[in-house]
Symmetry: C2
């Protein structure tokens, strides 16, 4: 393994260990020594990449806006849907993503590092503005309002559903949320062609990694 | 002031002081001595009502499901809307309400005390089931799904909007959220008669306190 590949891998191991520890203990109570124990690497290796717990939290948040599995579709509204469904599929499987939400809802961590919500809102806004320009949205649908509200709604649906005694599947919940809001956002001709099936994100991820193998991208 | 009134008032002062301190410091870092200082009452008075910080947090959460200002309307969907708008109006004004959300999103506090989300979901569900029985909802609208998703969406819209550099008004945000979801939930004849104006909660509260004065209720 080349020196640079090893450095990337080591950095990733520390970020994932930190994410797990933030998830279990919260930011305040998380300690560098527990993170080191989890990563099973040396303190020297850690300090090469991250000089403090703050730097680890910032590193986790930097990984939080991700479009893995995303492939542009015919409709921009479908692109917007796909981002939300992919994130819902990946969140319960990737500690880095759940840690970034945990850091965002923790007022102490939020005051130190801010959140990635503005970036998610901007990403959604760009897609919704393009959708509007292409005539996919109803005339009264305001991209800025929808982008902001949906990032909030997605986050809250995750928080509430994960706290209920019978935890609901996040992809299914987000699918239902789209079923509620899409009819008042999109024009009927586009609405009929959108796919919000709960199996969609898994299929997109499979197709996207098959495509990467075919084209030789790692 | 009668002895019982004084006890009720004292209890309330402690709950409000605790709510403020939970909001500022978080549950873990909140201390009894800071709460006492805030309440400006004696330690003996506190222990008469609350034996621990845990008991104060539980007391705060007990106050969190509130229907103040609520008056039943012609449509059950309007009742459901009114509960959400009233809470959005009161939340930024009442530390007890914001503290209950802060305790619910804090994983440590949540593991100790649970949340009041199931109670809000049940309250919404009862109204939506009644709305469905009266033919106010579309045939495909499922009260349980809508109740659960909307409590999540409401909470997340509050969290995200309160964290943005330009904090959006919560009542206006919840109004926009209703504008997105109501068209796919309610039958057109009812939809046209619903009031989701941002001024509604203030008016409802004024009418409800005027009604209480008129009927002599304190």
């Amino acid at each position: 393994m080349a020196k640079q590949d090893r450095a990337v891998r080591t950095r990733r191991i520390f970020l994932e260990a930190a994410a797990e520890v933030f998830n279990e203990y919260g930011y305040e109570a998380a300690s560098i020594s527990v993170i080191l124990e989890r990563a099973q690497l040396t303190r020297g290796a850690l300090y090469f990449h991250f000089t403090s717990k703050e730097a680890l939290a910032q590193g986790v948040l930097e990984e939080a806006v991700t479009t893995q599995g995303f492939t542009p579709q015919t409709y921009k509204v479908q692109d917007w849907i796909d981002l939300a469904l992919l994130l819902a599929h990946r969140l319960p499987r990737e500690p880095l993503l759940s840690a970034s939400i945990r850091l965002s809802v923790d007022p102490k961590a939020r005051s130190l590092f801010g959140t990635r919500w503005p970036d998610w809102i901007q990403l959604s806004l760009d897609l919704l503005v393009a959708a509007k320009e292409r005539g996919e949205l109803q005339p009264h649908a305001d991209p800025a309002t929808i982008a902001r509200l949906f990032v909030g709604a997605w986050t809250g649906v995750h928080l509430v559903s994960s706290s209920l005694p019978q935890e609901a599947d996040l992809v299914a919940e987000v699918t239902e949320l789209f079923a509620l809001v899409l009819p008042s956002i999109t024009v009927p001709g586009v609405l009929a062609k959108l796919d919000i099936s709960p199996h969609r994100p898994e299929r997109l991820l499979a197709e996207s990694s098959a495509g990467q193998v075919a084209s030789g991208t790692p």
